[in-house]
Amino acid sequence: MSLVRLEGVTRTIPLPDAPPLTILTGVDLDVNAGDHISIVGRSGSGKSTLLNILGLLDAPTTGRILLGDTDVSTLSAAARDRARGRDIGFIFQQFNLLSGRSALENVMTPLLYASGRQFWRRSAIAAEMLDRVGLGHRLTAMPEKLSGGEQQRVAIARALVRSPRIILADEPTGALDVETGETVMGLLDEVARTAGSALVTITHDPHVAALAERHYRLDHGVLLPAGSGAEVTA
């Protein structure tokens, strides 16, 4: 069964004194448990908009999003927010760690919006998650004291700490050098597999895209299958 499915998703933006700008056109996409999907495309091709729609941060102009069996458009805004917190983890290109908070506090942040055991044991769960990404010794370090690779590992720990079913990574290696990027992607892939989460990576780096099992290309808002990993890197 699909974790999330896009059916005929179109996204247009109305412009003053001009025809609406079409960003996505008729996008169909199934994300299943354990999938590792890459979506490549040029700047302005609509990659981030697609990721925002998958992450319930944005709504399609037409078409629908199914989260499990539920049509997301039937959910209230608060229910959508809660579903996002429970089922989806985000990794951003610029890490987006909260300044002034330690690595541990950053990883604890999503657990503040959980309930029950996850909420009350948030410190222990976050520490355990940081240990899994190899930062068990850097719990109290502030983001500005961490290297780029370490910051992205904190961001990965934060994205995974609520055990989401889908991880959405927007250019996860965009701010890292090649070597660190490969290490981080390897870690992300491994942690996602271990957790059984689906991983959707948006990137313009063919090497990062090649790590995925299913490959797509966004071209002028149209989502197209991109063949095998070898074809992507070629």
Binding site: D81, G85, N96, R101, E105, P110, Y113
Partner: protein
């Protein structure tokens, strides 16, 4: 329900973490609130002391609420009714209703021999209960006791000016003063009161029995002492009417009885309302200025935190949760400032310097008023909610996608 509880605790935890991280900014923004709450609470606390001082001053004149003044007279001539009959009729009626605090009051005068010559002094001849009924502020020595009626040397409770006129003697030296009258006697000063005003001349209180012995029964009968009774305020009006009819029927036709309230509480709903309104107005203004500063800083801060709010939303924070957390930041901070402000206000109001200046002459100095402390905390809560409301609305209106890229 459990989700609501974790949501609430989570919002408070978030708010506290936010305050901890931005402690310098928070501290600076809260100084104004703490000072405003301190000012508000201090003003209200001092107002209570000033009100008590005003109340006691009023009670010294008109008695505590409710003090009934009873007098009787012939309606056609306006002349007082015979003293002895009136006194007995009053006593009988008051005894019937179980009124325990009563005192005859006669404003009169005597001539006394001071070291520099004979002087006319104002004398208030009363009974022992008068001290309690009028909250007489004995500064040194003591007020009258019932046993003082039997003293051969009448006891006097005098003002400071009286002691000065006696040559500035100490009370511990048991000063005496010859009283001139029909049956002259040497009186002993047993208590001293503060002067009512700076230039007040010598005045004295003495027991009515003692005055009668010194000045003669006619002096009392001609002076026509009134009788005062201290009764529960809630039954004062009904009791006054009953006393009037009972005493009038006892004294018979041709005598009219007047029973009136003299205490300050008999005049209007709340005689201290103007003071309270003035104090409250000043305090509200002070608080408003503190709140404006806080709103300003909170708005600037929220704009600086838009990306953070976007990140939180992407991890599942609902709009309601963000609104509540931002609001709570303000409320938690101002409550902390409020506690500091109230504690400072208590220290100020209870300091000896302030107590001496505002509560001079107050017998029952009130404890720090609880309602002032509650008002201070409530005001800080209100200011926190008010100052947090605008930033919270701004935080909720942020578009998540835009905020993350901010």
């Amino acid at each position: 329900m459990r989700n609501a509880a974790t949501g609430f605790v989570g919002a408070v935890v978030e708010a506290w973490a936010e305050l901890r991280i931005h402690r310098t900014r928070v501290l600076l923004s809260l100084i104004g609130v703490a000072v405003a709450v301190c000012a508000l609470t201090t003003v209200v606390g001092l107002g209570a002391v000033a009100e008590q001082a005003q109340r006691e001053f009023s009670e010294r004149g008109g008695g505590r609420p409710a003090t009934l003044s009873i007098s009787s007279f012939a309606p056609d001539t306006g002349m007082p009714a015979p003293y002895t009959e009136s006194r007995d009729a009053y006593a009988k009626a008051l005894d019937r209703y179980g009124v325990t605090y009563t005192s005859a009051v006669l404003y009169t005068g005597l001539r006394a021999q001071f070291p520099d010559g004979v002087r006319d002094i104002g004398v208030t001849a009363v009974e022992a209960d008068y001290g309690t009924m009028h909250r007489v502020p004995v500064q040194q020595g003591r007020w009258f006791q019932d046993a003082d009626s039997a003293r051969l040397a009448p006891a006097l409770v005098v003002n400071e000016a009286f002691l000065v006129a006696l040559g500035g003697v100490e009370l511990s030296a048991n000063p005496t003063v010859p009283l001139l009258g029909l049956n002259g006697a040497t009186a002993v000063v047993t208590g001293v009161l503060p002067n009512n005003y700076p230039e007040e001349g010598p005045t004295a209180y003495m027991l009515l029995d003692a005055f009668e012995r010194v000045a003669g029964p006619d002096a009392v009968a001609q002076g026509q002492p009134s009788l005062e009774a201290w009764v529960p305020p809630e039954i004062a009006d009904e009791l006054a009417e009953r006393l009037r009819t009972d005493i009038a029927s006892d004294l018979g036709d041709g005598v009219e009885v007047a029973v009136n309230r003299n205490d300050f509480a008999a005049f209007g709903e709340d005689p201290f309302l103007p003071i309270k309104l003035l104090v409250g107005g000043v305090a509200a203004l002070v608080l408003l200025l503190g709140a404006l500063g806080l709103v300003n800083i909170s708005l600037v801060t929220v704009r600086q935190r838009i990306r953070e709010i976007g990140v939180r939303r992407s991890f599942g924070a609902t709009a309601g949760r963000v609104f509540f957390a931002v609001l709570m930041e303000s409320v938690v901070a101002t409550m902390a400032a409020g506690v500091v402000g109230v504690l400072a206000a208590v220290a100020i109001v209870k300091s000896p310097f302030v107590t001496d200046a505002i509560g001079r002459g107050v017998v029952d100095l009130p404890p720090f008023p609880l309602d002032a402390a509650i008002l201070g905390l409530a005001a800080s809560l209100f200011v926190g909610a008010l100052a947090g409301l605008l930033p919270a609305i701004v935080a909720v209106r942020v578009k998540v996608i835009d905020a993350i890229r901010y």
